[in-house]
């Protein structure tokens, strides 16, 4: 049978970076094909070439056996290729229907297209379990449904091949299961699915074949049945990795942080964190699990002094952080690794050494009085880079030029380096490659063992479970419950979806 997609000898350079090195890949029609690899391994570049965002320097693309040249996403769509991006390309105030026809209006008047689209949507919903209310406003839909709209958009344009880029990052376990059922349906109907992910368990669960990329090269393509998570991880990193950090039991000491009846509201006065109370003690990691957008970010930012709480107290050593600004919170001994590395954690247009003092730029050792001297700034960055194995260890390289994992290490080095009492970490390994994940996890455990208090917010349940000593699950701004790490994933998943299962 002719493969749905063939990429032959794809080569792409960005300046000195060889993003795709002679990549050849064949994807069978009616199959689910996974592509895994660390960040910067070239997965996204390869898919962007297939979808017409980039042009390969060399190589051929065949769709359904025919040579094609894909110069733009419109070309790709014309050849029956659809893409569901990691960050949805939807217009929030528009309805589902309007979003689906966007760019396919066919003429000046939108009426006929809309009514045609409505019929088509109903058919697709029936065929693929893709029910969404066509009249719902997209912005008001949960993320899982928004993703369905993205899939519908692609199918509406006649996609035979669907590329999904990290589709489960924003989903609850239940939503992810539903997504996999949809993908299964698509496959049964003869559609081809390309799944880019770094979650190896998903690969094992639903794909037929899996290709591994490393440093721009395609190092292996395997039948999923014939491989294991361990083998894939090793192929991705090029060496053996520990998927789960080893850690001893925690030795919690006195209470460091006491959050009491905390409520945080957003700009519109809607409560995002609702009457939350908990303690964090020395020498323990408290994990806060939950689907992204359920108040964890606001909780983190309130502790860090960025958001002013509407009510409640955040006591650290007798000081109320709720009444402090971020600079004061930092002086009181709270270090904060923000969830959004690119937009908060560092300044991408600064060089690494300048990003490495963000928030600590008033440290007296960095210059006398009002001065900020270059030498100590560089020296501090160099030291942090050595301690955290940042690559390349170049303090004057632009922050934006580091990979996600190395950016995160720069931030961790900065925050941990000041010897905090409490470390608040959001999504420490989001978009970080496996090798770096292992390193970051190990450092967090070490820090715990030195008696620091750590709050860990992550949407990765695996991460929460492997690092935390206690788990708090947040849903809709409230803490649904506290569980220990041995709690099974199903129960945590239910809590994350707001369902409290009675103890049987």
């Amino acid at each position: 049978m002719t493969p749905a997609i063939e990429l032959i000898g794809i080569d792409k350079r960005f300046g000195q970076v060889h993003a795709n090195n002679n990549v050849s890949l064949s994807i069978g029609k009616g199959s689910i094909h996974g592509i895994v690899g660390e960040n910067g391994a070239g997965k996204s570049t390869l898919m962007s070439i297939l979808f017409g965002f980039y042009h390969a320097d060399k190589g051929e693309t065949r769709v359904g056996g025919r040579d094609v040249r894909i110069r733009s996403s419109a070309d790709a769509i014309g050849h029956g290729i659809g893409m569901v991006h990691q960050h949805f390309m939807l217009i929030d105030p528009f309805t589902v229907l309007e979003n689906v026809v966007l760019g396919a209006e066919n003429g000046v008047l939108i009426g006929p297209a809309l009514s045609k689209a409505r019929e088509e949507l109903e058919r697709l919903a029936r065929d693929y379990e893709l029910e969404v209310d066509p009249n719902a406003v997209v912005g008001s839909l949960p993320v899982g449904l928004q993703q369905r709209v993205e899939i519908l958009k692609a199918l509406f344009r006649g996609a035979e091949v669907l590329i999904l880029d990290e589709p489960t990052g924003v989903l609850t376990p239940n939503e992810a299961d539903h997504l996999f059922r949809i993908l299964g349906q698509l496959k049964d109907q003869g559609k081809t699915v390309i799944l880019i992910t770094h979650k190896l368990r998903e690969i094992m669960a639903i794909t037929d074949h899996v290709s591994v990329m490393r440093r721009g090269e395609l190092v292996a393509t395997k039948r999923t049945k014939d491989t294991t998570v361990e083998e894939l991880a090793e192929l991705m990193v090029g060496r053996r990795v520990l998927l789960r950090v080893k850690k001893g039991p925690a030795n919690p000491g006195k209470v460091v942080l006491n959050v009491d009846n905390l409520t945080v509201s957003d700009g519109q006065g809607v409560a995002r964190v609702k009457n939350v109370s908990f303690n964090v003690r020395e020498g323990e990691i408290v994990g806060i699990a939950g689907v992204s957008g359920n108040g964890q970010s606001e909780l983190l930012e309130a502790i860090a002094g960025i958001q002013k709480p509407a009510s409640g107290r955040i006591m650290l050593d007798g000081y109320d952080l709720a009444a402090s600004d971020p600079a004061e919170v930092r002086r009181l001994g709270v270090a904060h690794v923000p969830e959004d590395r690119q937009h908060r954690g560092l300044v991408t247009s600064f060089d690494a050494s300048e990003s490495a003092i963000l928030g600590w730029h008033h440290d007296p050792e960095l210059g006398q009085g009002f001065r900020l001297d270059r030498a100590p700034v560089i020296a501090r960055c160099r030291q942090g880079m050595a301690e955290f194995d940042v690559r390349p260890a170049d303090p004057v390289l632009l922050s934006a030029k580091f990979s996600g994992g190395n950016q995160q290490k720069i931030i961790l080095a900065r925050e941990i380096g000041r010897d905090p009492k409490l470390l608040v970490v959001g999504q420490p390994t989001r978009g970080v490659d496996i090798g770096a994940v292992e390193f970051i996890h190990r450092r967090l455990i070490e820090l715990r063992d030195q008696g620091k208090a750590i709050i860990l917010v992550s949407v990765e349940l695996d991460e929460i479970r492997s690092l935390s000593d206690r788990i708090l699950v947040m849903f809709d701004g409230a803490i649904m419950g506290e569980r220990d790490v041995s709690t099974d994933e199903n129960e945590l998943g239910c809590l994350m979806a707001g369902v409290i299962r009675e103890a049987a």
């Binding site: 971020p326 004061e328 954690g345 928030g359 900020l372 001297d373 270059r374 030029k401």
Partner: protein, 364 residues
């Protein structure tokens, strides 16, 4: 992921692209000159000779460049804080008021005291005029582009009123103040006569050194102080600034005060250095040229000084050209300047995509 600014070698970014842009601007300007029936090469020769061919030309060039350096730096620091200060023109104008008030009001004090006071007054008045839009932006969210534009008009009207009703000596027709004799920036010609060298009569005065010092000072502030770090952080990423415990509203106000103060320094050159009296419209559009200068100089003090020199050349050479070739009017010169701004400011990045494959293929 590819950085949209790409991976061109540094020398291409710093030298080749600006040079290419400048050449293209001159090429198109040459076509315009051709269309009105003049020889573009001759015109270019006259322009260059007018600015660079004599000491007098150089004197004017540097005098213009001094003005543009101040207004360019003013726009540049605002850019670094993520602000677009279009109000340089008004800030310069109001700063003249500071020069006038101190220069005339404190004329009983000796020169070494009045002059620094007058300079400080220029800074303070310029900064003061920038403070109101800054405050409105920081605390009330009024867009600084709109408010600074408005404040240019207010400044213009206010100055007309003040010069006519307050500063104009009774019984005089000319709309200008008494002569400021107490606070004068020495001109090069005067210094030349003093040491016995005869220099041509140009507006060039020692403020040019103040401009260079100021450019260095701004570089130091931005890249070697904690405040500069905070300003650049706010400009680059407000979220990161808030995370770092920097209060953006505070930085917006500080950056605009510095910006207004820098613009105000142009009044030192113009009022204390050249006119020696408060006159109408003395800013003469230099506040707006500062925007182009800052854009072209990539908001870096060194770039600003270089761009100011280029604009000084165009101004002086252009004036000379319109003298020699009546067909090339003053307005034509503005067209040529406009083309330079268009190619070097607005279209600065336009030719990168064409250059990119060339360098990428070379495997650099």
């Amino acid at each position: 992921m590819a950085n949209p600014r790409g991976e061109l070698p540094a020398w291409v970014d710093i030298a080749a692209i600006p040079l290419l842009n400048l050449t293209l601007a001159l090429l198109i300007a040459g076509l315009v000159v051709l269309v009105i029936g003049e020889n573009p090469f001759e015109a270019l020769a006259i322009l260059l000779n007018g600015a660079l061919g004599s000491l007098k030309g150089w004197g004017y060039l540097l005098y213009y460049a001094t003005n543009f350096t101040f207004t360019g730096l003013a726009v540049a620091i605002a850019f670094h804080a993520g602000l677009f200060n279009i109000g340089g023109e008004g800030q310069v104008y109001i700063a003249g008021l500071g020069a006038g008030v101190v220069g005339l009001g404190f004329s009983f004090l000796p020169w070494p005291i009045v002059l620094p006071l007058a300079i400080l007054a220029c800074i303070a008045f310029g900064a003061g005029w920038a403070f109101i839009p800054a405050y409105l932006q920081a605390k009330r969210g009024s867009h600084i582009v709109i408010t600074t534009i408005m404040f240019n008009y207010i400044a213009a009207s206010l100055m007309v009123y003040v010069i006519i009703n307050v500063f104009r000596p009774v019984g005089r027709m000319a709309v200008e103040s008494r002569e400021i004799t107490a606070a004068v920036m020495p001109s090069f010609r005067a210094i030349g006569l003093w040491v016995g060298v005869k220099l041509p009569n140009t507006p060039l005065n020692v403020t040019v050194f103040l401009a260079i010092l100021t450019a260095w000072g701004l570089w130091f502030l931005l890249w070697r102080t904690r405040l500069g770090y905070e300003i650049r952080t706010v400009g680059a990423n407000v979220d990161a600034a808030v995370y770092a415990g920097i209060r953006p509203s505070r930085i917006i106000i500080i950056a605009m005060l510095i910006s207004g103060g820098l613009a105000g320094l142009m009044a030192v050159n113009e009022i204390l250095g050249v006119q020696h009296r408060l006159v109408l419209e003395f800013a003469g559009g230099a506040g707006f040229v500062g925007i182009a200068v800052a854009l072209m100089g990539r908001s870096h003090p060194v770039g600003v000084v270089l761009a100011a020199l280029l604009f000084g050349l165009l101004y002086q050479g252009g004036t000379e050209l319109s003298f020699v070739k009546p067909a090339i009017t003053r307005e034509m010169i503005v067209v040529i300047q406009g083309l330079v701004i268009l190619f070097m400011g607005a279209l600065e990045q336009a030719f990168r995509p064409w250059l990119m494959p060339f360098f990428v293929r070379q495997g650099v």
